[in-house]
């Protein structure tokens, strides 16, 4: 179980501190599937990065199974079983896809088979370098595989669908569901996509640094689909309009 208690987060802006998150209180239960949604700039990624330890909250606490992890480093949190898939993953000259996936100690087994789950054939990719020769979509899928590869307690995915084509996308939603059921971890996906929202047990709507709404999918989803900011958001993304079913 992960508890976020009174977490606020500020970043230094040009004209002084900018409040990104304000008094967030959230409990993520074991084995639940959460989707965080809401308009761009609302604080979703910042919250995920605070959970991973990439950002330090300005105030508040984070507890994992009762243990205060607020002061722990990224590495320590990773070793406790928190994983984060980047929205824009970095590239590595000279490091192969296989080499990158082999770096983790807490392997889920199955070698490179997770590449199949993200629509990549391991034979074609294991020896390729994670460099500029990979397209944005390929890089994104490898990033997702780098989490599926591990035995995580909490898996955070930051807009996993961005840059992924339609065909792979439907496979990906299947993969998220399968992995979640199989490994019984807590899955948190930041997304604007209806099909991903459909996967959730619970939906958390974050806007302007606050939790606007939180609850079971059945309760929250109809309201969101009726016309919250994220539908506008969806239409704004030219490349993804095919994905938007409305």
């Amino acid at each position: 179980m992960l508890e976020i208690r009174d977490v606020s987060f500020e970043l230094e802006g040009d004209t002084g501190p900018v409040r990104i998150l304000q008094d967030i209180n959230l409990t993520l239960q074991d084995h639940r599937f959460y989707v965080i949604t809401g308009p761009n700039g609302g604080g979703k990624s910042s919250l995920a990065k605070i959970i991973m330890g990439i950002y330090q909250p300005t105030s508040g606490k984070i507890l994992m199974d009762g243990l205060d992890i607020t002061a722990l480093s990224i590495t320590e949190r990773a070793r406790l079983g928190i994983g984060y898939a980047f929205q824009q993953p970095p590239r590595f000259k000279g490091i192969t896809v296989g080499g990158l996936l082999r770096l983790v100690n807490d392997k889920n087994g199955c070698g490179y088979n997770f590449l199949y789950d993200v629509g990549l054939c391991p034979k074609d990719y294991v020896e390729r370098e994670v460099n500029a020769s990979l397209s944005g979509g390929e890089l994104k899928r490898i990033e997702i595989a780098s989490l599926l590869n591990r035995k995580l307690k909490i898996a955070l995915f930051d807009e996993p669908e961005a840059g992924i084509d339609l065909w792979s996308f439907s496979r990906l939603t299947e993969t998220f569901r399968k992995i979640h059921n199989q490994y019984n971890n807590t899955t948190v996906i930041i997304s604007h996509q209806e099909r991903i929202l459909e996967l959730a047990d619970e939906i958390i709507l974050i806007a302007e640094g606050k939790i606007e709404q939180q609850g079971d999918k059945q309760k929250v989803l109809p309201g969101i689909l009726k016309g919250c900011d994220c539908s506008k958001d969806c239409l704004e993304r030219g490349e993804m309009t095919d994905e938007c079913n409305r």
Partner: protein, 305 residues
């Protein structure tokens, strides 16, 4: 062979025992072992220090190892080695120099390697430089490589210097004739107060001659590096120069690639980049459970592979 010799040979030539095929081992300025084969002859030069390595035309799949090791302090070793890679042959040449300097005086090895790659021949050349030793004496390596590739010939030079060499000035000169192809990959890492300079000039003189130069380096601490790769296209040809450096701490790196075209159909490209490790890269690897130091090492290791 003692433990230090073995360690040096392993570092520079991946050798754990006497190599297969032809070899010549030079230790502290003297011959320490040699074997010629039916197709590869190694003989001592008569006019100056060094050896001639003659590969018979048509020799395929054979290798020559010619490591040099220095374990004495105060030694200044200079050799001239000449390689004649016969027409239509396909061979691997493994050179390299390891210095274990136990004392306070300089230990220095300057090797001049002269290659002729005959018509249609292929050669892969691996040269590793490595230094170690508990002494305060400097470890200095100044290699000079001269390559001539005849029509349709192919050569791949892999030049590696990963650690322990205090000062190096490397010079590489190549001439590539019609349909010839030369690939040079250079890997360099310096630390402490080390200094490394690498100068290259590749002359593409024949029609459809081609070259690719890829230099990757890491400069740590207060070390200094300078790269000066040049390609001149004098016929219809292709050339690509890429210099890529990671800079850390208080190191300094200068990269000055030059391309020069003397023919309308010469296609030449150069790219050069210097930068520190991206913070995002370190963070990504830390989210996979690596410590910051492990993340940095992994990134550098990959970059220099």
């Amino acid at each position: 062979m003692n433990a230090i010799d073995s360690k040096l040979l392993e570092e520079i030539a991946d050798l754990h025992e006497i190599p297969q095929g032809a070899y010549n081992i030079r230790k502290n300025g003297e011959k320490a072992g040699r074997r010629s084969t039916d197709n590869i002859e190694i003989k001592t030069k008569s006019d100056r220090p060094g050896i001639d390595i003659i590969v018979k035309p048509g020799t395929k799949g054979e290798s020559v190892h010619i490591p040099v090791i220095i374990t004495d302090t105060g030694l200044n070793d200079l050799v001239y080695n000449t390689f004649d890679i016969g027409e239509g042959s396909d061979v691997l040449v493994v050179a390299g120099c390891g210095i274990h300097n136990p004392g306070k005086d300089k230990a220095r090895h300057d090797g001049v390697h002269n290659f002729v790659i005959r018509k249609g021949a292929r050669m892969r050349y691996v040269e590793k430089h490595y230094g170690e030793g508990e002494g305060t004496g400097e470890r200095i390596l100044n290699p000079k490589t001269i390559v001539e590739i005849e029509e349709g010939g192919y050569a791949e030079l892999e030049l590696v210097q990963i650690g322990g060499v205090d000062s190096t000035k490397r010079s590489t000169e190549a001439t590539v004739h019609k349909n010839g192809h030369l690939i040079i990959t250079e890997r360099m890492m310096t630390a402490g107060k080390q200094f490394a300079e690498s100068e290259m000039i590749v002359e593409l003189v024949g029609e459809n001659a081609a070259t690719q130069i890829v230099s990757r380096s890491v400069a740590k601490e207060r070390s200094q590096q300078m790269f000066y790769p040049r390609v001149a296209g004098r016929e219809k040809c292709r050339g690509h120069v890429q210099c890529d450096a990671i800079i850390m701490d208080q190191a300094q790196v200068r990269a000055i690639p030059e391309i020069a075209a003397y023919h309308e159909d010469a296609q030449l490209i150069h790219e050069a980049a210097i930068g520190k490790i991206a913070g995002e890269q370190i963070i990504k690897l830390m989210t996979m459970g690596l410590s910051e130091q492990e993340a940095e090492d992994t990134i550098l290791q990959g970059f220099l592979k």
